[in-house]
Symmetry: D2
Subunit: 310 residues, 4 copies
């Protein structure tokens, strides 16, 4: 599909230009000071394809806090580690809640709705903390291997800030523990979770790191099997129904790609058999998704006819 | 993809045989007497392709009550009639509720989560009742045209039974009306809604009637535009995130096709650029989806590699 | 306790004066036009004692729409008619919901939390409609007997207005019917319910009509047994925990009397072994209770030391 | 009212005998091992009156874990310490939830419904932890003074057990902290809370310790002001609407006294201007209230005509 790379490159640059000035339509995440400090005007976008091309425009080489995009990588590690036992402890249904809610966790007796809402990602953090001797190092190592870049790092400033404002996540974790669905000690689990969220990467690295999901589990660059084809399918399904918080349905409706956003302003979208789009712009809409990041993915998907629903 | 029709025909027959005896794993819908009377051992399946082939196995020519599958057709009619105004009155997000709930409707002030849960379908019924001089005839006429079969009928026995057990749907409708989101008189609206649900069709007819959704809105047999390409996309997206009730996430996870089920035991799945699968078997699982119907679609999708998520 | 009647009379007049000008602190109910038309400056208060005295001040002889205060009288009629069977169909617990909610009714499978929230009063209306040949006449007759005044009437203007804006009550009733907890046809039940609500009475009449609750079930004027001592006790208990909507706890905390309010602006409070206070002022606070009406009862209770909690 | 003490003593003994064999109607609390070890057949009851009499029957001198009855004493300490500021941080409404729920705390943005549900008592624990240099010692000292018994102790075995099974309470506390309604560090707060719950006292001691609530805030033995008359009134109101968990309405309906239960099997009831009843029997009903303890209070209240609602 990606016949004319230089043409696409030009399109990306035009797209980035077209979005400048729209950052006032959103709000930079301010629940932790470290995120609130980011310049709201940053805009980056990158496309990596399974046939080996990577292009980008704007601030696509500037690292940002990947936040909830890290949930995908944690999920892959947990699926690889404990297999289908995972699905006894977390469901794979959309949450249908206006915000990431403790109410549903109570109703469903400590079983999170899916692995890409906070409760589910905390459960995944429990699996990793309990099953890896050093889960934080294992996570960082996994990210560096996928991105083929040993300089990827944990932003300690963000990490400390998260830790100091993590009371709601602690509440979710303790509630799951009260239902017997958490093994680890909560402080250790939270430490892993906030470490994951605090990884800094840029658009280009993220797009390349996720190519295996567009390629039936195999990293097209190294031919290494990152996960099974079945698990790549499953992750794409989960991202399609639940990856964009409570705007997931609308994103499917108007864009039509498996995707995940983070409150750092990043958005990734998987295009099966084609590649990965990653965009970044800090201001968020009321659902917690990057306004401009969503626009960029939407425009690229429409321009290139990438939706999975037609 | 469908290269060898006779081979596929044989596979369907084998699949139907393989499912016999599994009907005890589910329960025939018994909330209305007319549905409870159905023989639980019926099994039918049909595939229609956009290149003009239709095959089937088992009871694929026996009509059954389409029930909630009718929500797709009502939605198409309403989208065609009032355009994007529709999305001011109904959302397109998955519901995330264990059952089709009045709770969410109260929380979200009378705006249904999506058009394929009951509340949403009642809102669609309001649009049709208010905008067509005779919405029931218009609906039946639409179904007959799509199926190219003037014998398609309303099962009056089912209709009467629905009407006598429609108190929950009445509650949903009156609650929406209390929020100002319903125009019609409720008895008229319910009469339309139950008429829709009571249409009887067989697997072959349903599969052929929905080919436009696999073909960017165009009926491949008649070349007639049933809806816009954009609306076909949108409907497939909604069916992907919300079509199988509160099992939609699991269905995406394990099967990976836009689909819709009805409590009459029917299941339809859209395969973009390929065709439509329709299966039927009355016993339902706890989510209200046909046990065997779901198995059949799942097996066919895996066998032919039809998922949209890889 | 009421030693000096003329002194108390003077106090009531002073109290009414002290509240003038406070009507802007609330909002007259506007969900139906007929209530919105009331002059917001009306203030009335009356005290009737079991030893036969009645005093009043302000607009205490002007009839107003009793609205939810009617729930007490309907409850008495239903308790007398079907005895303890009633408590199989309605609970006696406080609701703890910010507003009279359909959510709780769904959770608790069609069993209303108590008989003085809307759902519970609709269930009572079902009992009356089903067990009396002419429940509306029976209700009116009961009111006239209690007040010893044959001129008490149904305000037809209010009744029609209620009927035209009764969609939420219809939703509650149909939801209960879907759970099998309603016998009557909903339109008939609603007609009874809105008739009840539309009775017009003044403060003096209401205070006198409720003396049996302060006197172990016996009307002190006629010596007639209106209900058993046990049922008078039970009703006072329900009014204490649930009579003032979601402000019931605060009212107990600061005033300490069994009480009931209506959106017409009336408030009644039972003082066991002493008498009944009835106040009236149309503007309501956010809980639906009369601002000034509550103030008046509170001041009288404190002045005379009437609380049941010390 | 308590004219014939020896007669009443005989009645208590007969009542205790009448309840033997009913312990199988309930279940001893088993969420923590230390409580599950209690002999289910223990039955004790005591009445203390404001005129200085104390009587008892059965195991009324055997100490048990006071558990949630401690919430009353914590509340008194907090009201005395910070006055009406307390009511900015906790409400005084009944909760209306089937169990002590995190759902309501989320809805109401971290403001507990009242101080005698777990969330509210944790908030009180926050006040005490933050405002006393050594809140645990202060609490124990308060209990010893009220009971006039320096041997009252913390059951360390129960305390440790609580601490090891306190995940749900931790979840409630962290959720409130995420809303900014908790000052203390959660582990410290929980340590105080579980200390409170682990105080061991017998029926006689508890009945005497609470006499101030029946006597407008003044301990009738020492004439010491324990709290203001207004606060005694308020506490009795809260206990009336909310003291018996989600059975509070039924308890008001059938018994009619301000009361509080604990999962250790204790029940206390305040009789304004008369005295206090305390009963104890470990097996609990589904609401968490002692089956026999409730029976005993109910029988005594009816026998002596003590209800506040007639």
């Amino acid at each position: 599909m990606i016949k004319d790379i230089s043409n696409l490159q030009a399109k990306l640059q035009a797209l980035v230009l077209s979005q400048q000035g729209l950052h006032a339509q959103g709000q930079v995440a301010d629940y932790i000071p470290a995120l609130a400090e980011i310049c709201p005007k940053k805009i980056g976008v990158s496309i990596a394809t399974i046939d080996g091309n990577t292009i980008g425009a704007g601030d696509y080489k500037i690292p940002f806090s990947i936040q909830s995009i890290s949930k995908i990588f944690g999920l892959v590690m947990a699926m690889n580690r404990i297999g289908d036992d995972l699905w006894q402890r977390v469901n794979m249904e959309p949450s249908g809640q206006p915000f990431n809610s403790i109410i549903q966790l109570e109703w469903e007796k400590g079983i999170p709705r899916n692995p890409v809402i906070n409760a589910g990602a905390l459960l995944i953090a429990d699996v990793l903390t309990s099953r890896f001797s050093s889960s934080k190092l294992a996570f960082l190592s996994f990210m560096r291997t996928l991105a083929n870049d040993e300089t990827i790092y944990i932003d300690k400033h963000v990490y400390e800030s998260e830790l100091n404002h993590g009371n709601r996540n602690a509440a979710l974790a303790y509630l799951m523990k009260s239902f017997g669905n958490i093994e680890a000690e909560i402080p250790e689990l939270l430490s892993h979770y906030f470490t994951q969220c605090s990884v800094a990467m840029n658009c280009e690295q993220l797009a390349n790191s996720l190519l295996f999901l567009a390629n039936k589990g195999v990293d097209p660059k190294t031919k290494k099997v990152i996960c099974s084809a079945r698990d790549a399918h499953r992750i794409n399904a989960i991202l399609s129904t639940s990856g964009m918080y409570d705007q997931s349905g609308e994103f499917a409706f108007s864009v039509g790609l498996p995707a995940k956003s983070g409150v750092g302003g990043g958005v990734i979208a998987i295009v099966p058999n084609y590649g990965v789009i990653c965009s970044w712009s800090p201001p968020l809409n009321k659902f917690g998704n990057s306004v401009i990041g969503t626009n960029l993915v939407s425009n690229i998907a429409q321009e290139l006819g990438l939706s999975i629903y037609h």
